[in-house]
Every structure is written in C-alpha cells, then in structure tokens.
C-alpha cells in the first residue's frame, strides 16, 4: 500500500468529475496529474487547496491531500498549510471568480510574499457554478445573467497584476493545449517561489462567447516568438495583450528569495516537525521581563 505507482491512473480520485462534458477543467486536471507523474512527486506529498466553484471541485477528483475551502479563500488556506509544512507541495486551484473576484485581495498579497506556492486558475471568464454571471475577467459587452445589457467593467488582466505584484513565475495556459499546459504546471511546481498559471478553460455551458473556437483563433505561443522570459518589460507588455492575438506560455520567471528564506523559524525544518512548548529557562526569563 505504501508503494506508489506513479501513473496518471493512480492519481484518480474517488469520483469521476461531475463537470459538464467538454468543460475545460478536464484538461487542467489531466495536465496536473501528468505534471505530478513527470515530476515523480508522491501523491501524499501534494496538498491541493481550492475555493468554491466548478473548478474548485478539482481536489475531489485527484488522489492527493486536498482542502476544498471557502469561496475566495484558497490562497490564505494554502498559505497556512505552506507555512506549517513547507515540505509539502502546495498547489492552489480555482476559478476566475474565486481568485480574481472575491479572492483578489489575497491574490495580491500572497504574491508579495513569494511563498513557495503554485496557483492554477481555471479562467473561463464566467461564474460557472452559479450558472453564468459576469466574472472579473468577463469581457466588456459580454451579456450574462447578471449583465443582460452587456458587461461594462474593464476586465482584469491577471498576468499584468501578477507581474505588478511580484510573482516570480507567471504563465498562461490553455486547456486545449495539454502538452504545453503540463509543462507549464510541472515547471511551476518545480519553481521555487510563487507561480501563477492562468489557464483558459472554457465553460461550454454558460460562456458562449469565449469558446474553444474563440480561443483557438486567438492564442499564439510565446515560446515560438522568441519571447524573453527574463525581461519584465516585455512580459508586462504581453500581459496586456488580449484581443485578436492572445499569448500563451511562460511570460516571466525570476529567482528571488522565498518567504521561508527570511523566516528564521523555518530554517529549522517544517514547523509541523518542531517541538511544542517552551523550556523552563526561557519561560522564567520571559516572566522576569515583567518584574
């Protein structure tokens, strides 16, 4: 039982995903499993944390540790877990509403921290689970149940935001490009620091605008354009490209000290392995401070 075969099948969760047939999230799940197999990470060393949404159901469909938390709170929960046990590979997953709407504050500040976390957003430009309202990445003019006359808010650009806030690995995937996506995820997990992969993952049921066809017409691969992933300015420029041409692939990568490096407590190994309590000497010294 302890011995684990590293196959995609061995990572199957207890239930078959209940996503609509054709949902982009299937591709993300598959690529994630393949990335874990490629990296030869044992499934018990992985913790996947999600919020609430169709995409956030993912942890139930993969055999690792998982927390299916609250809408918008995957990153702080993941932060707590990563701080408590930095020996785990902590991966946060969720939707565009979850991460860029209700969770947007955490998104910003988690990036400032450069914790060793991987964050995969299944970005379908819509609220799927609640049956189709505008999300922060919905395009201007998009008619949804909450914006019947068309969305009037400027869509949020997650990659630009990530670059602005100091994320050290910033990429965009497309669930219809599984090979590239697998590589992006594998590299992100291997990356030391905070990595964001914003994945176009079409909602076939409620987003009739940003369909597979719509994306296929527009996406192009940064790799093939000789994009320099160490050039912040170039990355910033690319991060705003969202029209007839939309880049996918790795935009930017940088090595920076991670949070753990500057936290002396974490130099002594995972918090979860450290002894509990306080010795008498230190205790008495502390009390003496007050006398």
């Amino acid at each position: 039982m302890m011995k684990q075969e590293l196959t995609v099948k061995s990572l199957d969760g207890p239930v078959h995903p209940d996503w609509c047939p054709g949902c982009g999230d299937f591709g993300v799940l598959k690529s994630l499993k393949e990335a874990l197999v490629q990296l030869e990470i044992r499934s018990h060393e992985v913790m996947i944390v999600s919020g609430i949404g169709c995409s956030s159901n993912l942890p139930g469909f993969i055999r690792t540790y998982g927390v299916h938390s609250l809408h918008g709170r995957s990153l702080p929960v993941a932060t707590g877990i990563a701080l408590a046990n930095h020996a785990l590979h902590v991966i946060a997953v969720g939707g565009d509403g979850d991460g860029f709407g209700i969770g947007s504050g955490h998104f910003l500040h988690t990036m400032r921290r450069n914790l060793n976390l991987t964050y995969i957003v299944m970005d379908n430009e819509i609220y799927g689970l609640t049956t189709g309202q505008a999300s922060p990445t919905s395009q201007e003019g998009h008619k949804t149940k909450s914006t019947p006359r068309g969305n009037v808010e400027k869509p949020l650009q997650p990659l630009a935001l990530a670059l602005t806030m100091g994320a050290t690995y910033v990429a965009r995937g497309f669930s219809a490009e599984p090979k590239d996506l697998t590589k992006l995820i594998a590299d992100a997990i291997a990356h030391r620091g905070f990595s964001l992969i914003d994945v176009f993952s079409p909602c076939v049921t409620f987003n009739k605008l940003n369909t597979y066809a719509w994306f296929k017409e527009r996406v192009y691969k940064l790799e093939e354009e000789g994009h320099d992933t160490g050039d912040m300015d170039a990355a910033l420029q690319k991060s705003f490209e969202f029209g007839d041409k939309i880049p996918i692939g790795l935009l930017y990568r940088e090595e920076r000290p991670i949070y753990d490096d500057s936290e002396p407590i974490l130099q002594q190994g995972p918090l979860v392995d450290q002894p509990l309590g306080i010795d008498k000497e230190t205790f008495d010294a502390i009390l003496a401070e007050t006398m």
Partner: protein, 648 residues
C-alpha cells in the same frame, strides 16, 4: 510605580484609560496596590497625581478623606472647593525642585511626582531608583543619574511638606511577582501550549498579543504572521491547523465579524483553531479604547448553520494563561474552533501574579491521529477521515503522511470526504454526518468543570457574572457580606457548550440572583436563559465604556435589593461631563462647567440640568447649558452675554 510595588512583594493592578487617538485626549491611569491579590482597579482614590488641570477638575472630588492630591504647582492649581474634607494638597514646585538637574524631558515631571507619591505611601525610594537604573541601563549612566536625582527631589520635598498617609502599614515581603496583563498571558499561554503559528491583523485591544509574540517569535519558536486582513488571518490559521500545527489568531469585534465564515469552515473541515476576540466597546467601530462584554451574541452567532465549537471567557490575567492552554487541547481533541472571549479590561490592565501559579509545563492533548491506512480506518483503500464514530471524533491524518490522502471539504460529505452534495445529495449520510459533528458538543461539555458558587452558601444575594468581571464581583460580594448583606457569586467561564443542569440547580437554589455584565442588552442574561431556561429578573449593566467597579457595584446591588427602579436620567456628574465636551468643542479650553442645577424645565418637555459655564481663569459665569435629563440632549446654550458664541 506598579513595578516598584511588585518588587516590594505587593500585589498591583493598573487600569489605563486612553483614547482611540495617538495623542492627547483625556488619559489617566489608576493603580491599586495591596498585600493581597487584586484583580481589578477598584474605584476609590487615595492619591491623585494630576498632570493637567483637567485631571484636577475631574478627579479631585473623587479622592477619599485622608488622601492627597499631588500636582505641579508651577502649571496647575487646585481650587479647594473641589476637594472633600480631610484631603491634603501637595503642590510641587517642579521647575524649582529640578532646576539644577539639566534639561529635563517633559515626562520627567512624572518622575518628580512619583518621588512624592513614594513618600506619601511609605515606599522605599531606593527600590524605585534601582528599577529606574534597570530600565534606563541602555541609555547610559547620565540618564540614570538624572532620573534618580529627579525622583529623589520629589521624595525629599514631599517628606518636608506632608505626612505619609494614615492606615498604610505595608508588609513588604520583597517577593518578586510578574506584573502582566491578559494579552501577555494569552500569548505566553499559546507558547506553552505549543502554538507554532500566530496570525493577526492589528486591532485594538488585541494588538499587543501580536506585538508581544512578534518580539518573542524567535526566542519561543513561533512563526508570527501579519496578513492583509482578518479573512486571510483566520484562514491562514486554519490552514496551519489543518496541516497539523497548533495555530491561533487574535482580533477584536470588527475583525471577528470578518472571521465568522471561516469559523464555520473549521468546524466543517474538523480542523482545530483558536480564535481570540478581545472585546471592546461597540457597536461597529464603537469605543475602540473602552471596554465592553458585547460580543457574546456575535461569538455564538458566528457563521451559518449549526456546528460544534467552544466559547470560553477567561476570568483574570492568570486565567488567560490557563484558558489558552485549555483552548488548544479542546480544539485538537475535538477538532473544532475554540473562541476565547477576552476583553479590554483583561487585555490591557496589568496585575501581579504569583510565580508559583504559572508553569511552563502544561498538559498537551493532541487528540486522535491515524498514522497509516488500515482496514478499519479505510474504505476501498481510501482513508475514512470523517468516520462516523460514537464519540463524533474521527482520527485525523497529518497531510504528508503516506497512504492517508483525503480531501476535506466544506460541502457536506461522506466518511471518506466525498461530497454528498455533489454527486447525489444523500439525505441519510447528511443526517448521520451532521449528528456526528454535533455529538462532539456533549463530549466537550464533559471535559469542562461546572461553575461553582463562591462565597457563603446561604447568601441573600447571588451575583452572576461571566468572564473578566470575576474579581469585581468577588470584591463587591465580600464588601456586601461584610456590611451585613450576605452575598455570593456565580461566575461563568464556559459559555458554549453550557452547563445547563448545574446552572439550573445552583440558580434554582439561590434566594435572589442578579446578573452583572458590561453591556446594554444583557447578552449573557439572555444566553443563560436560552441555554438553561433560567430567567433572572434582576440585573446590573454598564455600557458607557468603563468597567464595572466594586464600590459602584455595591451601590447598585443595594439599590436593586431595595427595589429602587433603575434611573436612566443624566446624573449631575454626567451633566458636568457633557458640559466639558461642549466647551471643549465650542469654547476651546477657555471655560469649564461650574454649578449644576436641577430644573423641572417645563418648557423643554423634560426635566433638565442647567449647567453653568464659567471661565477657567477668572471663574466668571459665561452662560448656561441646558441638558435634558431624560434624553441627554443639549437643549440650549444660553450665553450670558452675546460675546461667547451664539445660541444654537
């Protein structure tokens, strides 16, 4: 001063009144010294040290006969009409006393008065000098010398001018005792309990837990993380708890409101977490620097649906320590959130504790854990993280442990964690899983000691309180008993789960119970009724931001027992307070309230106070402020001459 007394082996309690602003405002500190343990600041004044005119005006009348008032005579004066008979004035000509001691920082004024105080209460000035040396060691010998000289000057001058107070006959044991507040004790309790992660967002009056732990983080091996808001804070703590470390966070009411959704999550994930809510005056931003026991409703009503949790309110600084340790044990043993309801009174006011009463060696119970997959703890090869057990507790697995992979979800789920709302909502599994979670409440209750009557068993009156008011009630009960009205006390610490049966039994046998609490609606009185069906007819409540004080309480109890109806009219002292506010706003500090007269005030639709406003310098009348006795409204400003700003 407090520390001097501490080093002399006396017990001390300090109460610090300050405002939600960085500078200025009317701030004062009360200090109480006794040979016996004191857990509240009392409400009688023996010595007043006034640092500004305001303090003299406001507090001079409070000084008891036999007491004394110390002030800087170079800047302030004390009108003898303000003091009671038998009170002596001790004006200190500070500039003169210190003129040879170099340029003094303004705070050194205080050191002079402290010297004078030491004489008045018969303390050894050398002990304080030693303390000053300790305190200013890092600033060099010059500063130390200056400070001790200044102290000495005050002491000497006072010795030449006044007798020490009568009736103070200290027995100095010179036993050193820690002088601590509740926040420090919560922090230290967390350290001792093995908390490894503390997350917080600053909020008065909880902030000092963050400061203390941040400062001690490396020494005690605790990771301390300030996050972007309280939503992050609580979710970080829960994440850490889920990963297997003990984790805590602390906030006050407004921050707690933001944490409520996640508290329900912790219960659903069955993840331990300790959440400290240090209450302050509400509602909303309210009175950020004033005390209140106003968040019981919120703590009980946190998050949607029914879920298991514990709510506990510590009773004094030392109890903050023990309560925190216990909170971690309950949280882990039963895998649920524990809410610790402390308050500003406990949090910020320091008292001495006996060093024997506190130990680094505390019990730690981490609850049930699975370490490997077995036929018993699995189903089709999958760990039954949420096994439906008799006790309601299902053994946890530490993420990272081989073989025990599972998903913990906030949707309701089956024994292995598979969502039952997702595949096919299963009403049968839902019912049993919900019952399993809730079963833990009975088990928690069995672990908790029941409340007990303190004081004479055959009392005429039982004071019922909760949390931080313990010592105030105790002192009031003792006083009442000493004065012939036998009074005892029933203090509740464990609020949920609740000792229903014990409460019914004890209170059923009481002759006359009175619930005493620091809030408007009587949140505990209501909680008690809700949990036990016991209705207590009488209550004493305070909700103006100040803590309940023993003498105040004694008077109220007497009034209740005498059947006097509660009088909500503005008192004379309050009318004066209102007057101060008014003149500060509109007449800067040039005037102050003088005579206060009670009028029937037919033309105002309610009886009124007529507050004369007089010049601060010449004491000449400037006009009258009419204040409604029922409503408290400023009904009119009637200037004596058209000079001072026009009528409303």
């Amino acid at each position: 001063m407090a520390r001097t007394a501490g080093r002399l082996g006396l017990h001390v309690f300090t109460y610090n009144s300050y405002q939600s602003l960085i500078r200025g405002g009317h701030t004062w500190l009360k200090l109480r010294i006794s040979e016996d343990k004191v857990d509240n600041h009392g409400d009688r004044l023996n010595v007043l040290i006034a640092l500004n005119q305001d303090s003299i005006e406001r507090h001079a009348p409070e000084v008891e006969p036999g007491g004394s008032i110390i002030f800087n005579s170079a800047k302030l004066s004390c009108d003898s009409s303000l003091v009671r008979e038998g009170v002596t004035l001790l004006p200190l000509p500070i500039p003169e006393l210190t003129k040879d001691m170099g340029r003094l920082l303004p705070v050194m004024q205080n050191t002079v008065t402290l010297g004078a105080l030491l004489h008045l209460i018969g303390f050894d000035v050398e002990i304080t000098k030693a303390l000053l040396s300790d305190t200013f060691r890092h600033k060099g010998p010059q500063i130390i010398e200056q400070n001790t000289n200044v102290l000495g000057a005050g002491h000497e001058y006072a010795a030449g001018q006044a007798q020490p107070l009568k009736g103070l006959d200290w027995n100095f044991t010179h036993k050193r005792r820690p002088l601590v507040n509740g926040n420090q004790m919560i922090a230290l309790g967390a350290v001792a309990a093995g908390c490894k992660l503390f997350s917080a967002y600053p909020m008065s009056p909880a902030t000092s837990i963050l400061h203390w732990l941040a400062a001690h983080s490396e020494k005690v091996g605790m990771l301390v993380k300030q996050a972007e808001d309280e939503l992050a804070v609580v979710n970080i703590a829960i994440g850490a708890g889920h990963a297997g470390v003990r984790a805590m966070c602390a906030t006050s009411g407004g921050g707690f409101a933001l944490m409520t959704e996640a508290i329900g999550m912790a219960a659903m994930l069955e993840t331990p977490v300790v959440i400290v809510n240090v209450m302050r005056g509400g509602p909303s931003t309210g009175l950020p620097t004033k005390t209140e026991q106003g968040d019981l409703n919120q703590a009980f009503g946190a998050s949607q649906g029914d879920y298991p949790r514990m709510i506990v309110a510590p009773q004094n600084a030392l109890d903050c320590y023990n309560t925190t340790v216990e909170a971690f044990n309950i949280a882990e043993k039963y895998q649920l959130p524990v809410i610790v309801l402390s308050d500003l009174l406990l949090a910020e006011h320091r008292s001495t504790i006996d060093p024997e009463a506190i130990s680094a060696d505390v019990p730690i119970d981490r609850g049930e854990w699975a370490t490997e997959l077995t036929p018993q703890n699995s189903q089709q090869g999958r760990f039954r993280r949420y096994a439906l057990t008799d006790s309601g507790v299902s053994p946890r697995a530490r993420p990272g442990a081989p073989g025990l992979m599972h998903v913990s979800g906030t949707d309701d789920h089956d024994e292995t964690g598979v969502l039952i709302s997702d595949e096919h909502t299963n009403t049968a599994i839902r019912r049993k899983m919900h019952e399993k979670r809730m079963k833990k409440m009975d088990a928690v209750l069995r672990d908790l000691p029941a409340p007990e009557l303190e004081g004479p068993a055959d009392a005429e009156v039982t004071l019922v309180g909760w949390g931080s008011t313990w010592s105030v009630l105790q002192e009031a009960a003792a006083k009442l008993t000493a004065d012939g009205l036998k009074t005892n006390q029933l203090q509740f610490k464990y609020l949920y789960p609740f000792h229903t049966k014990e409460a019914q039994q004890i209170l059923g046998a009481c002759k006359r119970a009175i619930v005493v609490e620091n809030n408007y609606t009587g949140q505990f009185e209501r909680h008690l009724r809700a949990e036990s069906g016991v209705t207590i007819a009488d209550h004493i409540r305070r909700y103006d931001g100040e803590p309940i004080e023993p003498t105040w309480l004694v008077e109220r109890v007497r009034a209740v027992v005498a059947g006097e109806p509660e009088d909500l009219q503005v008192t004379e002292a309050e009318a004066r307070e209102m007057g101060y506010h008014y003149v500060r706003l509109y007449q800067k500090d040039k005037t102050r309230p003088g005579k206060v007269e009670r009028l029937e005030g037919g033309e105002w639709g309610e009886p009124v106070w007529n507050v004369e406003i007089i010049g601060r310098a010449e004491l000449e009348p400037q006009g009258n402020l009419v204040i409604g006795r029922d409503t408290g409204s400023i009904l009119a400003w009637q200037p004596r001459e058209a000079g001072i700003e026009a009528a409303q």
